[in-house]
């Protein structure tokens, strides 16, 4: 699912977040200034609706960049696969 376009980043939504957002993935062009995982989360939350509700401060959502758990300052770039993960419940 990794983005194959030079300009777009692939967002992947899992489990509860997929249900809430109504889609499992989308391709986006990052607006200027969105360069880290924290920026990306804030930008998505600014869409409003389910995005604002699920990504509000205090809601636990982990971000994985190219299958590795990201920190707030982890860079995000075109071509990356960035997943939004609700708290895990396996085992």
């Amino acid at each position: 699912m990794r983005g194959d376009s030079a300009d777009t980043l692939t967002l992947v939504y899992l489990a509860r977040l997929r249900d809430a957002f109504g889609t499992s993935s989308e391709r986006v062009v990052l607006p200027p200034g969105v360069t880290t995982a924290a920026d990306l989360r804030a930008w998505l939350a600014s869409r409003g609706g389910a995005f604002a509700a699920e990504l509000a401060a205090g809601r636990t959502v982990r971000i994985a960049v190219n299958h590795d758990i990201a920190q707030p300052d982890t860079p995000v770039r075109p071509g990356d696969e960035v997943a939004l993960l609700p708290p895990v419940t396996g085992g």
């Binding site: 899992l14 509860r16 994985a64 993960l85 396996g90 085992g91």
Partner: protein, 151 residues
């Protein structure tokens, strides 16, 4: 070191025989098997659906096993986790660890499970008489994983 995500069931006897491989250095095999319960809190669970994040899941499990291997004196480890639709009493997860002595095998096996529960991208959705719902993460699982940082 083997990590597998699969829809089908697993045969514990066969998996453990393969893990041991008749290696005469092995003096201890610690095993954990997680199974589906038919209750969660007040609700009766009729069906459990497990989903994961293909690609990341295998990578995360391999990292957890590598961390265990770096920390304890173990020979080998096996993790099998099922996904898809499961019913009460079904097997969900198998963790097996071999070592020379039981202490390392027990500790590594528990560590792998505690980290799997808090780091590996799996999610449970349960069907109850009141409807279908995503299972909430438990604070007790975070606490169990955090213990390993303190020791």
């Amino acid at each position: 070191m083997t990590v597998r995500v699969q829809t089908g069931d697993f045969d514990v006897t066969r998996e453990l025989a393969e893990l041991r491989g008749r290696d005469p250095r092995v003096g201890a095999v610690a095993v954990f098997i997680g199974t589906v319960r038919d209750v969660n809190g007040e609700a009766t669970v009729r069906k459990l659906t497990l989903e994961h994040y293909p690609g990341m899941t295998e990578k995360a499990l391999a990292q957890i096993v590598a961390d265990a291997k770096a920390r304890w004196d173990i020979f080998d480890a096996l993790v099998i986790h099922r996904v898809g639709e499961l019913a009460p009493a079904d097997q969900i997860v198998l963790v097996g660890v071999t070592s020379a002595h039981r202490g390392d095998a027990f500790a590594a096996c528990e560590f792998i499970m505690d980290y799997l529960k808090t780091r590996a991208p799996f999610w449970k959705k349960e069907a109850t008489p009141a409807g279908v719902r995503w299972v909430d993460a438990r604070a007790s699982d975070d606490e169990a994983a955090a213990r390993w940082k303190a020791t």
